[in-house]
Amino acid sequence: MIHCEKLTKRFGHFTAVDHVSFSVGKGSIFGFLGPNGSGKSTVIRMLCGLLEPSEGRATVAGFDVARETDQIKSLIGYMSQKFSLYDELTVHENLTFYSRLYGLRGAALAQRREELIAMTHLKPYLNRRAALLSGGWRQRLAMACSLVHQPQVLFLDEPTAGIDPVARRELWDLLFEFSSHGITLFVTTHYMDEAERCSHVGYIYLSKLVVCGEPDDLKQLPVVNPPGTRRIDVTCDHVTVGLQAVRRLPGVRTATVFGQSMHLLIEEGMSEDVLREALARHNIPHADIRPIAPSLEDVFVALTNNPNGETQ
């Protein structure tokens, strides 16, 4: 559905997107991750035809983003970063405006509007001004507005930024529903838990695409699982003290705090007793140690530190 080949965007001397290549299949949920300023929004804007690529090419639904923007426009929906809506207009009027903008008239317009209201549960808020909606409902309205013309691809630029956890969960339920209708979703985020929900993920760092693929495949990459190492979870009291205790031990490659526990990458032959002893010396008598699979965060950390994917 989406193909990028060495897609590049320069603003003056600054290269915002540097030779990015990837493909997104029809019906998939593609999570595009990266820190702020890494080039995520620039890629989306190029794919929507808002910016012209400086180099390379990209196609959406088979149409070239640089030359065939008009064809692309009717096939894509775009929800920009700030859920931009007309604050002075009511929910109903916002929906009507976007429907008219996409050429819907009369009965067809009314029917599509009802469908979207039902899908997003906006019914109780129809006559409320957009300015008075809470974050989660604004976002639903913005999403409904971007779907008026039944697009094949929906681009969402950080749809969950600044939204409470309940609204976030509900949004994802809604996204899965769209996906079940065959809509291809392209979502940028910097929440790792959201990335885990995607069928495919890409990670962009300092304008370059570091990795792209299915989450499970990425977790099997050798750079994430260097031969002769294993990942463990250590649950104990005073986890920050514990981290200081174990991180300098020989055999511990990486150590990160994860809530009430630590995730360690240790050498295969390292004994768990060595860890327990080190913790005991720091007055942490009990520790629960179990093996774990790498998370996507582990994948991205490993790849950021070692972008070429070479094993150490």
């Binding site: 426009k73 009717s74 775009y78 920009s80 604050d87 002075e88 009027e93 008219r100 903008l101």
Partner: protein, 373 residues
């Protein structure tokens, strides 16, 4: 196939709703121009009358007192005090108590009766040139008339050798409001309209809604025209309000054809709204839009003939004035309202205004395309 004005109706209906839901926009479109008209109409008055004058009469005769009387009768001067010395006279002007000092020397009547030149000293505060000029002309005119009358008596002639009989056409009472209000109309309409479109697009850019519009399949001209039309209606209504104020508050006649008058308003407002759109293609935020608008509109205040006549400007500034839409509009307003001119008399002005509007509008559509390409 892409219709040339795709998205026009959607944008038009939305814009109308937004404008009428946000009373501040309407308030700022209507209120300042009306205030400007009223304020300028009343305050801008260059008919200089009743200037504060101090008198130093060292002659103290009937003739000298009659002379002072004649000065007052011109309506230009108003005696606010008598002083006893030259020093006091100049002090009064320096301190701003009077604009004019009239000094009649002790030998005034004696010289007059003896047929010698009788001198009168008139001190004028030159720091305000309009006032000074008026005082100078009135004083000179008075002296000339007195001299002539004396000479005629001596030559026993009863009629002036040459007499000019001026007749003021179109503004018989020389009301300066008649001159200023059509000009203020041009300036007041200008600020309200250019801001309106410039800000309405910039607001969408700031809020991010512009991006949503750009990914939608609407045409540039459809978007621009949809943005412009509501403000065109509002501005034309506003102009009608201004005409009402001009007619009923300032008593300025509308002698010409109303159709021509509103055609002029329509073309002028269209040009200004297009200029506002053009600004919005460059400005990234409110602040920039305001600055650009001010920078572009300021020349019109000086070079449009609003206050200073274009004919007396150096060639370069005359050339600048031909580029300013307000120049044509103000001239049309004066011609149609005061002189009752018809469309045929000034068709070239209409063509130029309309041409400017179309060029600016086309420029917007082009520039807008480039920005997001």
């Amino acid at each position: 196939m892409k219709p040339p004005f795709r998205g026009f109706t959607a944008v038009l209906l939305k814009e109308f709703t937004v404008v009428f839901r946000d009373p501040t926009t309407l308030f700022f479109m209507f209120f300042p121009p009306l205030i400007q008209i009223v304020a300028f109409g009343f305050a801008l008055d260059n008919d200089v009358k009743h200037m504060a004058t101090v008198v130093l009469n060292e002659d103290r005769t009937t003739e000298s007192r009659q002379l002072v009387e004649k000065f007052v009768n011109t309506q230009t001067f108003r005696v606010v005090g008598e002083v006893q010395s030259v020093d006091e006279l100049s002090a009064a002007i320096r301190e701003g108590k009077a604009y004019v000092g009239l000094q009649i020397p002790p030998d005034f009547t004696r010289n007059l009766n003896a047929g010698r030149g009788a001198h009168v000293q008139v001190l004028i505060d030159g720091s305000s040139s309009t006032i000074a000029l008026q005082a100078l002309q009135t004083a000179m005119g008075l002296a000339l008339r007195e001299s002539l009358l004396t000479t005629m008596r001596e030559a026993r002639r009863t009629e002036m050798p040459v007499e000019v009989r001026p007749q003021m056409l179109y503004n018989p009472t020389m009301e300066s409001a008649h001159f200023f209000v059509p000009g203020v109309m041009g300036i007041a309409l200008q600020i309200a309209t250019v801001f309106a479109t410039a800000l309405s697009v910039v607001r969408e850019r700031e809020r991010g809604t512009l991006e949503n519009l750009l990914v939608a399949p609407l045409s540039r001209s459809g978007f621009m025209l949809g943005k412009l039309t509501p403000y065109l209606c509002i501005s034309t209504t506003m102009a009608a309000g201004i005409f009402v104020v001009a007619r009923w508050i300032f008593g300025i006649p509308i002698r010409g054809d109303l159709g021509a008058l509103f055609l002029a308003v329509f073309l002028y407002v269209f040009t200004l709204l297009s200029l506002g759109l053009l600004i919005s293609t460059r400005a990234q935020n409110h602040m920039q839009a305001l600055q650009m608008t001010m920078a572009l509109l300021l020349p019109a205040v000086f070079f449009s003939g609003f206050i200073f006549p274009i004919e007396t400007m150096p060639a370069f500034f005359q050339w600048i004035s031909t580029l300013i839409p307000a120049t044509y509009f103000i001239e049309l307003m004066r011609a149609i309202m005061l002189r009752g001119a018809s469309f045929q008399d000034f068709w070239m002005h209409f063509v130029i205004l309309g041409g400017m509007g179309l060029v600016l509008f086309a420029l917007c559509a082009l520039r807008f395309k480039q920005r997001i390409a």
